[in-house]
């Protein structure tokens, strides 16, 4: 079908009016360029935002206590309460699907008063009481020393891990940090490690300004006993934390003697759900990208249909002559279809190449200027490109179909009569 003679015929015909061929081809190239570039941009956005979620164990939820809103078993409504350390063990025992359950306590905060001193320097930092598992739920880079260990927990050591910003405000440059002591609410702790947050998620500053204390030490030193502020539960990959959430909350209500229907007594944040929302948002964006790109491509296709109709009209007589000397309707139709197909595919390839160039340029610029918020590594995978090419081929055939039918509808005798 696509032998050398065909090619010669097609190229001759397309060459006969080069400027017009170019303009028509540009319409399609532009369409596919927008389609691919749009998808690459959306992918870049998606990659950027996903990077912000970073290495968080996304299959996690946070649970904290609020006030009860219903009286239950003789207890009044409006009662404040706390989780107990034993609740953690109960959850672990009842829900083997949970890989980690970490209790957390906190002191101070972002805008709290000065609570930490070292020699003459003071600062206001968030003090966390944590278990060693926490670093697996919210990964961070330990730049010096180590994170809290189980021996710290068991022996209630006064060992702490501090954020890089804590180091900046309490130490001189190049000063040795590990093994030094700092005072938190008047109690001396030894620094055993320094961490740096691996991701931002909007509060990297706060994270870098925090201090980790072993949970048991925290409870003893700051008089929390076995109270737990809130907990972070992570489920194994096969189980969705969102599915597990109602059961976990029910168990906790039972533990804390809260009415089973009291929704407001427990607060929670479902990271999986939040992540899912973002992922869903980008799925919709991708769809919009496809849709808009396809519409622009469609206008390019209409351009091809248009020009092929004109070509057919202009060549009515030529088509008549060809038929008089023995071209069958199929010969004529397939020639027109192939002209349109070749035009579409070649111009589409140019569009894809142009978009690839743009993507390369964006990546190059990103490499040169360093990371940009919410945007990283714009790419389109080969699958998308193949889909784009498939759309092009179908588009080319469709664009050729109408003109081709029109070309052979006229009787040869009428076609020959046209001047």
């Amino acid at each position: 079908m696509f032998n050398r003679d065909r090619w010669t015929e097609i190229l001759e015909a397309l060459n006969a009016n080069r400027f017009r061929t170019f303009l028509t081809a540009f319409g399609v190239a532009w369409g596919i360029f927008i389609l691919v570039a749009l998808l690459a941009l959306i992918n870049g956005l998606r990659a950027g935002v996903s990077k912000d979620f970073g290495d968080f164990a996304t299959n996690s939820m946070y649970v904290w206590t609020q006030q009860t809103s219903m009286p239950y078993k003789g207890l009044p409504k409006g009662r404040g309460f706390r989780f107990k350390l034993e609740d953690i063990q109960v959850l672990k025992d009842n829900f083997p699907q949970l890989t980690y359950v970490s209790p957390r306590n906190q002191l101070g905060g972002y805008q709290g008063s000065n609570n930490v001193t070292r020699n003459a320097r003071t600062g206001a930092f968030t003090i966390n009481g944590d278990y060693p598992d926490f670093i697996k739920q919210q990964p961070m880079d330990i730049t010096q020393g180590r994170f809290i260990s189980y021996s710290d927990i068991e022996e209630k050591r006064k060992a702490i891990v501090i954020g890089v910003d804590v180091v900046k405000s309490l130490y001189d440059k190049d000063e040795e940090v590990i093994g030094t002591y700092i005072k938190i609410n008047g109690v001396n702790f030894m620094v055993v490690g320094v961490f740096q947050a691996t991701n931002s998620d909007g509060n990297s500053e706060e994270e870098a300004n925090s201090i980790f204390v072993p949970f048991t030490t925290f409870g003893q030193v700051f008089n929390y006993a076995d109270n737990v502020n809130y907990m972070v539960a992570t489920a194994e990959d096969e189980t969705s934390i969102t599915d597990l959430k109602p059961q976990i909350l029910a168990k906790l209500r039972e533990q804390r003697t809260v009415h089973p229907d009291d929704e407001r007594a427990l607060g929670n944040f479902d990271r999986a759900e939040a992540f899912g929302k973002v992922t869903g948002l980008f799925d919709i964006l991708s769809f919009v990208g496809f849709f808009v790109g396809f519409l622009i491509l469609a206008s390019g296709m209409i351009g091809i249909i248009n020009i092929m109709l004109i070509v057919v009209k202009e060549r009515t007589k030529e088509i008549g002559v060809r038929r008089a000397i023995g071209a069958s309707p199929w010969d004529i139709r397939s020639q027109i279809m192939q002209e349109s197909l070749v035009l579409t595919i070649i111009s589409g390839m140019c569009g894809v190449a142009g978009a690839a160039g743009l993507i390369w340029a964006m990546n190059y610029a990103l490499d040169q200027s360093g990371p940009v918020d919410n945007f990283a590594n714009p790419t389109v995978n080969i699958g998308i490109v193949l889909i784009a090419l498939l759309i092009l081929i179908i588009a080319g055939i469709l664009a050729g179909l109408i003109p081709a039918m029109k070309a052979t509808k006229m009787k040869p005798v009428d076609a020959l009569r046209i001047e």
């Binding site: 015909a13 060459n15 060809r322 000397i325 069958s328």
Partner: protein, 235 residues
Amino acid sequence: MIDLQNIHKSYKTGTNSLHVLKGIDFHVKEGEMVSIMGSSGSGKSTLLNILGMLDEADEGSYTLDGKSIRNLNEKIAAQYRNKFLGFIFQSFNLINYKTALDNVAMPLYYQGVKRAERTDKAMHYLEKVGLAQWATHLPNELSGGQKQRVAIARALASDPKVLLADEPTGALDTKTSYEVMELIQGINDEGKTILVVTHEDDIAQMTKRIVNLKDGQIIDDTRVQQVLAKNAANV
């Protein structure tokens, strides 16, 4: 070779019906050279279109080389045109973005002849019409007479049974007309059947038989003493 019986053809224009051919009986033997004459509106072009299978008669039978031409679908019609007929048009109808050689090779292309063989054959026919050295030229680089010769070479390329020429000299001056007619006479001398539609008497005299059409009917069909174009040119 050609056998027409009681051919009728009418065209509908709105509510009116125009009866163009009113019962044509016409026979041509192999090797004949016939001119069809008539004033405009006499139906001579319609007759030629029917003979060329470009149009179909409403009534009557048409047999070409023993094959009945009736109710052909476009595909078969295209094959028959390619195999049995060669067309020569008044306005040459060459494809202007193809070289003379490619124009001549086109019927062979539609026959599915291989490229090398096609070029060979096309070149042979271009030589025959004396334009071998113009093979690579585009039609707009050729004179009118040369264009018509290329068209004749194209009509001959598929080695058809019958050549149909519609006013082949209509766009040419007298001298060139005679040169073209000399070529056509030469082809006839080799045994090819040729039909020429013309309204010029001197051209008609160069054929061997003149058929006169008036108002869709043959009013006169006579054999004439052929005037050789070669001699006419010298007058």
